[in-house]
């Protein structure tokens, strides 16, 4: 791993540690109850994790939409637009603990790691936009008896919640252990599939299913932080596109919706034609 990737890994680990710094919760099996929880972190980070000190934007969005009479969350959409405009998918590459975990698992030896994008990749990548629609529409569309809704994405899909909150809380709390049933097994299966798949494919949840990644992907093209290619230096060797772990065609579109700004292309470019920052 070169210097730039080591620096990125340090930022990923540091940010995950800061946003999950409630060590007391990990010992006691309780969660942090301070006012910081009114704020969101940019990445997927369950607010029911005993260590978490802030809220997950997807959980926060569904919490508001699940409230009777709230069909639109100005607060969370506003926050996501600001984060997306400032960073784009740099959030995925640098500030998401669940993305970091998938990357670490991808380092594990596997029999075969596919390098080329299969023909069905475009369809698979579009799944995350359907998951986003599912997370936004269902809390409003399926009201309960009190007129509110439920956080369906958290309830049925989110593997980060199972890993960060479900597993530690069930280990530390016998009452919760007794209450766990089919739903927990279902979520555990999704988590297991995601983690196993991560050993063969780079960040499969981010590529195919993350609704937060879908929002940042839509803003990647216009975010203030951007990549650019100096045409006078580029030799069209296509090494940037070949090396990209997200299989984005960087040469064609340096601000692709799939680019998580990991910087692998910049490191691979022999003529240093790719640059990034807030300059443009």
């Amino acid at each position: 791993m070169d210097k730039a990737q080591k620096k990125r890994r340090a930022i990923q680990a540091g940010f995950a540690a800061i946003t999950n710094s409630n060590v007391y919760g990990l010992v006691s099996g309780s969660i942090y109850r301070g006012k910081l929880k009114a704020l969101c972190v940019p990445g997927l980070n369950c607010y029911s994790c005993p260590a978490s000190v802030a809220s997950c934007p997807m959980g926060a969005l569904q919490a508001v939409l699940s409230n009777a009479g709230y069909y639109f969350s100005f607060y969370v959409y506003g926050y996501l637009i600001i984060a997306g405009m400032l960073f784009g998918r740099l959030v995925c590459g640098f500030l998401c603990p669940f993305g970091l975990l998938q990357e670490l698992l991808h380092k594990a030896p596997a029999r075969q790691k596919p390098k080329e994008a299969p023909k069905y990749m475009k369809f698979l990548r579009s799944i995350k936009y359907f998951v986003l629609a599912f997370a936004i529409i269902l809390p409003i569309a399926i009201p309960n008896a009190a007129g509110g809704g439920q956080p369906w994405f958290c309830k049925l899909i989110c593997p980060a919640g199972t890993l960060q909150a479900g597993i530690p809380l069930l280990i530390l709390n016998s009452a919760l252990r007794k209450a766990a049933g089919f739903l927990f097994s279902w979520k555990l299966a999704i988590l297991a599939a995601t983690l196993i798949l991560s050993t063969a494919t780079f960040r499969p949840f981010c590529k195919y299913a993350c609704p937060l990644g879908a929002i940042y992907a839509m803003l990647n093209k216009v975010s203030l932080y951007s990549y650019s290619i100096d045409g006078s230096l580029c030799t069209n060797c296509m090494e940037c596109s070949r090396i990209c772990p997200m299989q984005a065609n960087i040469r064609q579109n340096p601000n692709s919706a799939e680019c998580i700004r990991c910087g692998a292309c910049k490191d691979a470019c022999k003529t240093k034609a790719i640059s990034s920052g807030y300059r443009r």
Binding site: I31, Y32, K37, G59, M85, T162, L176, N255
Partner: protein
């Protein structure tokens, strides 16, 4: 995909940033931060696969 012209890009950036700030402000005034806080300080049973 065709890249955006620099002027269009800057205009879109300004509009989106202003929209984000406006939305966040409206959200705070509507009490959405309080809704999130009230939800997040208790264990979310749905999130952990129980509710």
């Amino acid at each position: 995909m065709k890249p955006l012209a620099n002027s269009s890009r800057k205009a879109i950036q300004a509009v989106l940033l202003a929209t984000g700030i406006l939305f966040a402000g409206i959200g705070v005034m509507r009490g959405e931060a309080g809704i999130i806080l009230r939800k997040a300080v208790y264990i979310c049973l749905e999130c952990i696969g129980i509710g």
